[in-house]
């Protein structure tokens, strides 16, 4: 539509030289109400029966030209890419590579959906939620995804879209915008890390959050121990059990061991729905969660996934590597956004071979995981959904160290291996007993002791592992 107008603007209709513009209009428009409307400036266009074409009056022409200039100006300023998808949500066109700054929007995405590479950080549950939106033909905004650009570099994009409908009102696809938000994401992650460092330092200076320990000073992720702190530690004859923002497994290592590991560790932000490993796929990194939560899921053909383990700050994701296997046996799904330290697989193997304390800590952790999985297996088979939900909420609470967290029905159903109705009933029951609050996926634990009583004995068994 716009392009037609552009063409029109470049060749504005010229009035017939002999008669003048006004005269031409007066010749065409004879009725009084129409002439009056023209005089009062309420008319945009007049149709000439002789040519069968409509021409715009000068005011309307001017307004449209200004409007187009404005839109063009805004488009040029915007760093967004525009795209269109067909009715199967596959990309059919895009304006990409306008700035050339990142090569993710090249022809390689044509024919692909957001689920296919080079996109691909969407977890199963997120993808399903997104697809539901699409099937409702809803408009979606600022969906944040990771993808790989031409150079193989990981980037973040934000994508928004709205449905398009054809002449007969039938759905023909989606169109929208896409934006590179890698820089924002990186600075957010950096800011998060520096916030943590600052919090650590503040705590260290105040000498709070300390409890007796049993080894050398426990290292804290990329922290510079101040002389003051060491002095305090000597005076107290105690060591910190590790900052609450540290991973307990790393914090339990003697300082020397930890220093050795540190160079190989990097802080990363894990986001909800991200999948760290899939069953049967090689493990690229091991993760030491700090304040995020990772679910280990086993998938059974024809069924939804079932949770078989939960890893938070007490452990590590990727224990198969420590057991000498390079492939994962579970799907590791990030369930609570937060920071983790990660190390690549090769480096981890090397460190693991040479560090006895690391081996000891990991074997202890693996034993706990195994016991937890065994207990969970029995629990899932024998205990009521309500008790299992209570147990699961308590386990989550212990790991995120917060009485408030976000979990959807669908997600809980996956975790407990029941239908969503089952989750609603169980959550409703716990809510009636004033143990939790549950609104729109937001869970609050009101009474921890009461919830412990409501949970099955399995919580007591695995709590201390």
């Amino acid at each position: 539509m716009k392009s037609n107008l552009l063409a029109r603007d470049r060749n504005p209709p010229r009035p017939d030289p002999g008669h003048g513009f006004e005269g031409r209009i007066l010749r065409l428009v004879k009725s009084v109400p129409e002439r009056r409307a023209i005089e009062s400036g309420q008319i945009d266009a007049v149709i000439d029966p002789a040519t069968g074409k409509a021409f715009l009056l000068p005011d309307a022409q001017q307004a449209l030209r200004e409007e187009q200039a404005r839109v063009r100006g805004l488009l040029a300023l915007s760093s967004d890419w525009f795209w269109e998808q067909d009715e199967h949500y596959r990309f059919v066109s895009h304006t990409g590579t306008a700035s050339g700054s990142s090569g993710i929007y090249d022809e390689s995405i044509i024919g692909k959906t957001l689920r296919d590479p080079p996109f691909g950080s969407m977890g199963e549950s997120d993808w399903q939620a997104h697809q539901r939106l699409l099937e409702w033909r809803a408009t979606f905004r600022d969906l944040e995804l990771r993808c790989t650009d031409r150079a193989g570099v990981m980037r973040w994009i934000s994508i928004s879209g709205e449905p398009i409908f054809g002449q007969q009102d039938q759905f023909t696809g989606y169109r929208g915008t896409m934006r590179d938000i890698t820089q924002r994401k990186q600075s957010e992650a950096l800011a998060q890390v520096s916030r943590e460092k600052l919090a650590e330092r503040t705590r260290a200076e105040q000498g709070v959050e300390r409890a007796p320990g049993n080894g050398a000073a426990r290292g804290i992720v990329s922290r510079k121990n101040s002389a003051e702190r060491r002095r305090q530690e000597r005076l107290l004859g105690k060591v910190a059990t590790g900052n609450p923002t540290a991973n307990r497994l790393l914090a339990a290592l003697p300082r020397k061991e930890y220093q050795g590991l540190r160079a190989g560790l990097e802080a990363v932000t894990l986001t909800y729905g991200q999948i760290l490993s899939e069953p049967g796929e090689p493990i690229t990194h091991v993760y030491f969660p700090i304040d995020c939560l990772v679910s280990l899921l086993t998938t059974v053909e024809g069924h939804q996934a079932l949770e078989v383990g939960l890893v938070g700050r007490e452990g590590m994701v990727g224990i198969s590597l420590a057991l000498g296997m390079d492939v994962s046996s579970v799907r590791a799904l990030v369930q609570g956004t937060g920071t983790a330290m990660r190390m690549n697989a090769a480096r981890f193997r090397k460190e693991f071979r040479k560090s006895v304390p690391l081996q000891r800590e990991l074997y202890r952790f693996i034993h706990a995981k195994l016991a937890q999985a065994r207990q969970t297996a029995a629990c899932n088979r024998f205990h009521r959904v309500e008790a299992r939900l209570a147990r699961w909420l308590l386990m989550t609470r212990d790991r995120v160290r917060s009485d408030q967290f976000l979990l959807t029905h669908a997600f809980l159903a996956d975790m407990l291996g029941v239908r969503r109705v089952g989750v609603s009933l169980a959550a409703g029951a716990l809510q009636r007993r004033k143990l939790i609050t549950y609104t729109r996926g937001k869970i609050g634990i009101l009474d921890r002791k009461g919830l412990e009583a409501a949970s099955c004995g399995c919580y007591e068994v695995i709590k201390d592992l």
Partner: protein
């Protein structure tokens, strides 16, 4: 391609007169945009679901407009119920629009 905006009656079995209208506009020209907005407000207030509106862009389909006897845009025609009526301009004069559509404004 005419831009169509069709609103069907919700469900009710009660016999309700549906006002069928055509609005002729020129793309996004100022008076055309205003006419669409004015008409939408009027329909929402007085006709609820009981109308069908077709919006025709004369820059794209001028012959269609000519065939309907339209020379200037924006123009609004009432196709049914009879009598047919036509009103030109940006429809900012609500009273004359209601009159043309045969809607009696409730006495306040």
């Amino acid at each position: 391609m005419p831009r169509k905006k069709t609103k069907r009656e919700a469900s009710g079995r009660a016999v309700a007169t549906i006002v069928v209208m055509r609005l002729y506009i020129a793309n996004d020209a100022p008076n055309s945009v205003r006419a669409v907005a004015n008409l939408e407000a009027i329909c929402k207030e007085h006709l609820k679901d009981k109308f069908k509106l077709e919006i025709i862009d004369v820059l794209e389909t001028p012959l269609r407009a000519l065939a309907d006897g339209i020379l200037v845009t924006p123009s609004l025609t009432k196709v049914s119920p009879s009598p047919a009526a036509k009103i030109v301009g940006n429809l900012s004069d609500k009273r004359s629009v209601l009159h043309a559509l045969g809607i009696v404004e409730p006495v306040e």
